[in-house]
Amino acid sequence: MIPVTIPGPERAVSTDAVLELRGVSHTYQVRRSPFRKSVPLRAVDDVSLCVHRGEVLGLVGESGCGKSTLSKILLGLLPPSSGEVLIDGAAVSGAGQAAFARRVQPVFQDPYSSLNPRKTVAQIIGLPLAVHGVGDRAGRRQAVTAMLDCVGLPRRVLDTYPKQLSGGQRQRVAIARALIMRPEVVVCDEPTSALDVSVQAQILNLLTELRRELNLGMLMISHNLAVIEHMATWIAVMYLGRIVESGPTRAIFERPRHPYTRALLQSVLTTVPGHGIPDPLPGTAIPNPVDRPAGCAFHPRCPLATDLCRTVPPSRVVDARQGGFVECHLFPAGEAEAA
C-alpha cells in the first residue's frame, strides 16, 4: 500500500507482545513551595503492561492518575525511574530515540494544537520520513499521497494548512503522520474527546479498520468508557499510579471486581433514557499523590473499605482462568472465583 520500504529489523508476524512494560515506576520530584524541600511524587508505580499486535489495550482512570506519564514512558519520551520497557522482548534502553520512534507513534488528543500551523499537510505527514531519511523527495510525496487515501482524506488537502481543515480531517492528518513509518504500536491519548459526536464515530471506525488492515497494536487512553468498551480488547484500570485491575474487556465489563472499576462502569451515561444519573462515589476527587493514603490508595473513597484496607496495601491477585489481575483485599488469593 505504501511504496516505501522501511529498513529495520525483520518483523515477525505473531500476536506476541510488541511493547511491554515490566515493573515500571516513575517518580517526579515536586516542590510545594520555594521554601520547602522537594518531595517524591510516584506518578507511576510498578506498572506491567503488554500491547499485542492487532489488539487494543484500553487504559482508563481519572485525571491525575498517571495515564499521561505512562503514555510518555510508552512513547520513549520519559525514561522510567525503575523497571524496563521492552520491544519484541528486547530492552530498549540502549536502542535510542529514533529506533524507538519508528515502532511506536502517538496520536494526540487535540488536533487543533498538535499540528504545526505553519506546515502544509504534506509536510506534516512526510516529516517522519524526512527525519528518518527514508526515500527521496518524490518518493516521500508518493508515500504521503498513499497515506492520505489510507486515512480517507482527499488528495486536494496535500498542500493546504491545518487551519483549512475540519477537526475530523485534522485528526486524520495526525493519524496519517503517526502511521507513515508503519509503526507497530500507536499510542492514542484521548483521540476523539476533542471531536464532535458524528466525527468521533468516523475516527473510531478509521482506527478499527487500520488496526485490522495493518495488524497494529494500540494503546487507547480515554475517560469515555463506552468508547473503551467498544474499541479495546484488554482493559487496564489505573488509580493513583497503580494498575488496580486488568483483564479482557468482556470480563471487566461483565464482572468488574475492584470497587473502583465498578464505580467507573456505573458512571457511564448511556444514550438509552430511563437509567437516571448513577450514584456518585464518595469523595470529591482523586487524593493528592504526594500524600498517598496508607494501605489501599482507594480506601478513602471505597464504600466497602475495612480496617485491613486502611493499613495494608493489597497484593496482586492473578486470575488464572481468564488472565488479568486485581489488587483489592476483597479478593484474597484463592478466592478470585468467588466474585
Partner: protein, 328 residues
C-alpha cells in the same frame, strides 16, 4: 406546567466580511418551572449562542432578534441594559464550561461569591458571606466555611464547578443556564455534578437549561430535549420520546454514532454521518441536513419543512422538522 421561559423565533446574526452569518435561525422553545431542558447539538449548531442570547451576553457584533423572549412574564426583548443587569446573575444565572477559566484567580472564593449577591441586594458583607457558606454546604463542598478564604487554584476541578454553581445560586435564581457544565470533568465527578443539579431542581424548583453535546448526559438528566442542527431546531420533545423513537434522520444518525455498552457489538463499525455542516452565511434554501441525509428527496433541497408533531406520539409534544414520516 407554567413556562418560566418562552422563546419564539429567536435569531442571532453575526455580520462577517463574507456576508451575514445566521448562527441561530428561528429557534423556539419553552422551559417549564422545575423543568430540565437540554439543548443538544454539535459544535457550530448555535446552542451556545442561543444561551448567550437569552442572557443578553452576545459578543459585540452579534445581533439578537426574536418574536417573543419572555422570562417569568417579563419581556426580555424590550428590557433596558440596567434592568437586564438586575435580572442577570440574580433571577437568571449562568454557569460556564470551564471552571478553571471562569473564576478569577486573584480573588478568594468568598469574595467572588459575595460579589454576586452584593451587586443585586443591600446585603452586608457578613450576610453575603453567611449565604455563601450555606450555599457551599448545599452544593456539597466539604468544609465550605474554610474554603471561602481559599483561591480557585487551591480547589480541584470538581470543587471549582461546585463553587461556580453555588455562585450562580447566590441570588436564588428561577432559571439556571448551564453551558457544558461537566465537559471538562472526570466521569465520576460528572455524576456528582449532575446529581447536584437534579437535586437542586427537586428541592428548590429551579428550572434548568443545559447546553451539551453529550448525548448520555441528555438521556439521563433531561425532561425535554431540543436537538439543534445548523442553527435550527430539527427535533424537540420529551427525552424518552426523542431518544427512544427519534423521528429526524439527524437525531437518529447522532444516536447511532455513540456506542451503547451491551447493545453495540464491540469492535463493530459505528454509524457515522458523512459530509460536513453547511455554511451558515446567507440563506439555506432547503433542509440544512439534506446534503448529508441518506433519505433526502428533491423536496428537501427546495424548502425547509416546518416543525410538526411526530406521528407515533402526537400528544406527547414530540415534534420534528422533516418531510419524511417519522417512522422511516
Amino acid at each position: 406546567m407554567t413556562p418560566i421561559l418562552e422563546v419564539e423565533g429567536l435569531c442571532v446574526d453575526i455580520p462577517t466580511p463574507a456576508g451575514t452569518l445566521h448562527a441561530v435561525r428561528d429557534v423556539s422553545f419553552r422551559v417549564g418551572k422545575g423543568e430540565i431542558l437540554c439543548i443538544v447539538g454539535e459544535s457550530g449548531c448555535g446552542k451556545s449562542l442561543t444561551s448567550l442570547a437569552l442572557m443578553d451576553l452576545l459578543p459585540g457584533r452579534a445581533r439578537r432578534e426574536a418574536r417573543r423572549l419572555s422570562f417569568a412574564g417579563t419581556d426580555l426583548g424590550t428590557l433596558s441594559q440596567k434592568a437586564m443587569r438586575n435580572l442577570r446573575g440574580n433571577r437568571m444565572a449562568m454557569i460556564f464550561q470551564e471552571p478553571m477559566t471562569s473564576l478569577n484567580p486573584a480573588f478568594t472564593i468568598g469574595n467572588q461569591m459575595a460579589e454576586a449577591l452584593r451587586c443585586h441586594t443591600r446585603a452586608s458583607a457578613a450576610e453575603a458571606r453567611e449565604r455563601a457558606a450555606e450555599l457551599l454546604a448545599l452544593v456539597g463542598v466539604p468544609a465550605g466555611r474554610d474554603r471561602l478564604n481559599q483561591y480557585p487554584h487551591q480547589l480541584s476541578g470538581g470543587l471549582r464547578q461546585r463553587v461556580m454553581i453555588a455562585m450562580a445560586l447566590m441570588g436564588s435564581p428561577d432559571l439556571l443556564i448551564a453551558d457544558e457544565p461537566t465537559t471538562a470533568l472526570d466521569v465520576t465527578i460528572q455524576a456528582q455534578i449532575l446529581h447536584l443539579l437534579e437535586d437542586l431542581r427537586d428541592r428548590t424548583g429551579l428550572s434548568i437549561v443545559l447546553i451539551t453535546h453529550d448525548l448520555g448526559v441528555v438521556a439521563q438528566l433531561a425532561d425535554r430535549v431540543v436537538v439543534m442542527y445548523a442553527g435550527s431546531v430539527v427535533e424537540e420533545g420529551p427525552v424518552d420520546e426523542v431518544f427512544g423513537r427519534p423521528a429526524h434522520p439527524y437525531t437518529r444518525g447522532l444516536l447511532d454514532c455513540v456506542p451503547v455498552p451491551g447493545r453495540t457489538p464491540p469492535g463493530s463499525l459505528l454509524g457515522s454521518i458523512p459530509g460536513v455542516v453547511p455554511s451558515l452565511i446567507g440563506a439555506i434554501p432547503g433542509c440544512p441536513f439534506a446534503a448529508r441525509c441518506s433519505f433526502a428527496a428533491d423536496a428537501c433541497l427546495t424548502r425547509q419543512p416546518p416543525l410538526r408533531p411526530a406521528p407515533l406520539q402526537p400528544a406527547a409534544g414530540h415534534s420534528f422538522r422533516c418531510v419524511l414520516e417519522g417512522s422511516a
